[in-house]
Amino acid sequence: MTKTPRYKNPPLTEAIFELFFESENWTPATPGLFYSSVNKDYPIIQAQNGLGFILGMGGIQVETGNNQLTQYKSADGSSIIQLSNGLLTVNKLPEYSGWESYRGTILDALTKLQDVVKIKKINRLGLRTLNKIDIKSYSFSEYKKNYTIFPSLPESLNYEWNSIQLNLEVPKNEGNDILAISIATILKEPKFEAPTMMQLYFTRTKNADLVKPQEWIEDAHSNLKNLFESSLTEYCKANF
């Protein structure tokens, strides 16, 4: 098990575990049965019409989704399980109390899912973290002070670029997994002068049925942790 560095003010705004599955016995009553087993820790139950976001030439457009999720929320709203026929997510919003605790939450949710649903096949697994990092000013020079990953620009394009979006990905574990990072400047919001969103994602897209989720998430976390530590400068991390 990898030891997680502890930061006083980590930039993590959400951690998400995703399980895409096929079941043999899903019925409309399944979300209610699941609630019966999780309601002690997740007393709030809500239907969530999925939102879809299209990021195109005209910017982000929001449209209603078609995947009806049932949300189960902890009393303080910081831990959320979402369930639909074919998808389970375990979301953790601040305050994040560390990987060990989150891993326990994930495994507990998986156990309770298997109590009510017979999983025929796992199609995909994913572990994602979203980190909001304030670079204080929308400028390429400030961006480079905080991130170790940035484009190399020729001298002739030596402008003070102020909007950045980067996406990188690499196959891992003989191509069964994918490690991805996305960094983008986002709109200013309360408490942030120039926020950026760094998404780290590890997903098993092939042979997902062959792994044990409890072992896979350790590897996923280890990959995400290394990516996090390597993508940010010491200058940036000094603010956490």
Binding site: E14, G52, V62, E63, G65, L69, N91, N167, T205
Partner: protein, 161 residues
Amino acid sequence: MAETLTSISRFNSDSVIKEKRNTSKVASLDCVNYHYTTTGALNKDYAYSIELMRLGVRQKLNNQFHLQNDLIEIDFLVRNPEILTVVFEIKDAIIKEFGASEIALDLQSESVNWETLFIVVSTDAVWEKANSFINLLFKRLFKTQPEVANKVNLIIAPDAI
């Protein structure tokens, strides 16, 4: 349309697999990929990140409204995405009727099942004109989208500027 890998933002290999059946844009099934699609049908993947849903609503609002409590209004719009469209329609109608106005969103909530998003407008309009506008707007809204009309309210503060 020219599309590049940098104009995108989505993480889902399933999406790529589905998309490959329809287009040759995707280079490899081994990539998570981030293709902007004209249909957007595969972008539902964002639907299960709370933070990305908030970000999407925030980007859509684009600082055009003052949010009384910020996350409270954002989360309400995440739960009720159909209201986003209506909020912009009302804003456009307000600007057309009264000119530039300051518009705030203020969620009043007694419970999750009893929430109302107040759209609070500060204008220099006279009371009679404001009242007539509200009546007409909600008459139309109740006729076309009654489920939304029950979740929003409009307050026009005349002579406020």
